[in-house]
Amino acid sequence: MDTTLFKLSIRNLKTRPIRSWLTIIGVVIGVFLIISLLSLSEGIKTAVLQQLRMMGKDLVMVFPGEISDVMVAMTGDLKLSDEDIEAIKKTKGVENVVPMAWKAEVMGYKGEKKTVLIYGNPWKDALEIYKRDMGWQLFQGRWPVPGKREIIVGDVVPKDVFPGMKINTEATIAGKKFEIVGVLKSLGNKQDDSMIGMDLEVFRQITGERKGAQFVLAKTSSTYAADDVVERIKTELQETRKRRRGEDLPSFTVLSSEKITDIVGNIMGIIQVAIFALASIAIIVGGIGIMNTMYTATHERIKEIGVMKAVGAKNTTITMIFLIESGILGFVGGLGGTVLGIGLAKIMELYFQVHPIFYLKASASPWLILFGLLFSFFIGCISGFLPARSASKLNPVDALRYE
């Protein structure tokens, strides 16, 4: 293709630099939003799903409360009773049950006192599942021995919570002495990495939370489908509750690990669609900016258009000149937005590497970059189309007579 029209268009844009740049900035903002948000959300999705996928397919999770109450369950107000736990244990197809309880307690170490989240679980049964399905690994030391006042701390604890904490030293929790026997490798998010673990029996003794658990993990036997076991656990729990307390409402949630991965994946997908929709609005606003600029340009250049037609420009040539102009506005805006968007995503990635609330990779795929560039060029052309067409359709004599 002859690049002459392209040069001509650039010349036209350069004659109104401020307006051109402002229009471009309008596009930059939209593309920047879409690219940074998409690459971050894609990164979060990948990170979360990766963690979830580490879990074996034979795990079933039981929470107290409806699924919508998950946040309530996490804060520890709702609990599964010992009877519930027994019922789960009895269910056909359940091989192993690991109740988990947690509570915030004050912990003292070398004269320093801090409130930490401690959890208790039966180490004997728990360890097998944690190691295999949750990727738990020792960083230092050993696992606590059931029945003993020993704790294992998350990766962040010796780094951030009690800097310089060493294994084989003593700490106090709820006024009782404990020996720190091990440090875990990072589990992938800061909250989990800040927790302090001990045997469930010991946990119950020192916290006074004698019964129940906030969360139960059940391992199903390989001869049963996890989804069938989920259904059976539901029935068992319902019957237990009816018998003991006359409750009808199933105020508990039973989910297989696969189901959880699906749900989380779906939620992430919806969030991404929402982000995309919102950021698209920003791009559309940018496109309207281009359209506005181009209409102004055609209006200002009516006489020029008449002159160009008088010296032999075809309608399609006039259309091209204006379309190239709006395309350039869109493309340059897209380029700027993509660079800034990926830049921000990378900065966030670095930030999360230093402050690991969770480990995030900004996922700036070539596909996303290409999308950003083409999409904005496309928006530019679309927005420029109507103004360009109205310019090309001008009657040359009217255009020449226009003052």
Binding site: D2, T4, L5, L8, R11, N12, T15, K303, E304, G306, V307, M308, K309, A310, V311, G312, A313, K314, N315, T316, T317, N395, P396, V397, L400
Partner: protein
């Protein structure tokens, strides 16, 4: 006898202003032969410019027909008309109508762009034309940096870009003082004599009209 290169046959041009119809050209006929140097003279509002736009294929008659080398141009597509306009006709306007952001050289190159002349040749040709009009020193100036006479010379250079047969000049001296106007008319006369261009000048000034070989008078949309 040679055939006319361009003919108007009983051309009417009617503008509708709301309900009112305004007949600006009322059945004008004209034969233009290759090598003509013609003036169309008449008072303001008589339809001179309208007539010139029709001769230059910028506008189409409401009634009647225009023939280019015996072909009725009403059968031509818009694109073909644009092509012919760029190839065969050169326009010179009273207000010069140069593109303000392009240099003199670029303005002269513009009509060649639309004829898809390659860049190298565009530049050589445009420089030659500018030099022939004594404008080589002004090639890289923008219209705003040129005097009226220089601008009109650049406009004449632009009209010559694709070496057209016909040059249409609408009041080419209207915005210039008498001396500069005479210089411009002298250039057109030279183009007629040396380059054998067909030249049509629209004017209301008889001194200007006297440069031409043939004067056609128009009044109220009719030749008299």
């Amino acid at each position: 006898m040679a055939m006319p290169i361009l003919q108007l046959k009983n051309v009417w041009k009617t503008f509708s202003l709301g309900k009112v119809k305004l007949d600006v050209l009322k059945g004008v006929s004209l034969d233009i032969y290759s090598g003509d140097f013609m003036s169309i003279m008449g008072p303001s509002g008589s339809g001179k410019s309208t007539c010139m736009y029709i001769i230059g294929f910028l506008d189409v008659p409401t009634k009647g027909a225009v023939f280019l080398q015996q072909k009725n141009v009403s059968e031509f597509s818009q694109d073909k008309l644009a092509h012919i306009r760029g190839r065969k006709i050169g326009f010179v306007f009273q207000q010069f109508n140069l593109l303000p952001h392009l240099t003199a050289l670029e303005n002269v190159m513009l009509p060649m762009i639309f004829q898809k002349v390659v860049e190298k040749e565009r530049e050589t040709r445009a420089k030659q034309i500018l030099a022939s009009l004594d404008l080589d020193k002004r090639a890289h100036h923008k219209p705003g940096e040129l005097s009226g006479g220089e601008q009109q010379r650049v406009a004449i250079a632009r009209s010559l870009a694709n070496d057209p047969d016909i040059i249409l000049a609408d009041e080419p001296t209207g915005n210039l003082d008498t001396t500069t106007g005479k210089a411009i008319m002298h250039i057109l006369k030279q183009l007629h004599q040396d380059k054998k261009k067909t030249i049509i000048v629209v004017t209301h000034d008889s001194i200007i009209a006297d440069y031409s070989k043939r004067i056609i008078r128009i009044k109220d949309g009719q030749f008299i």
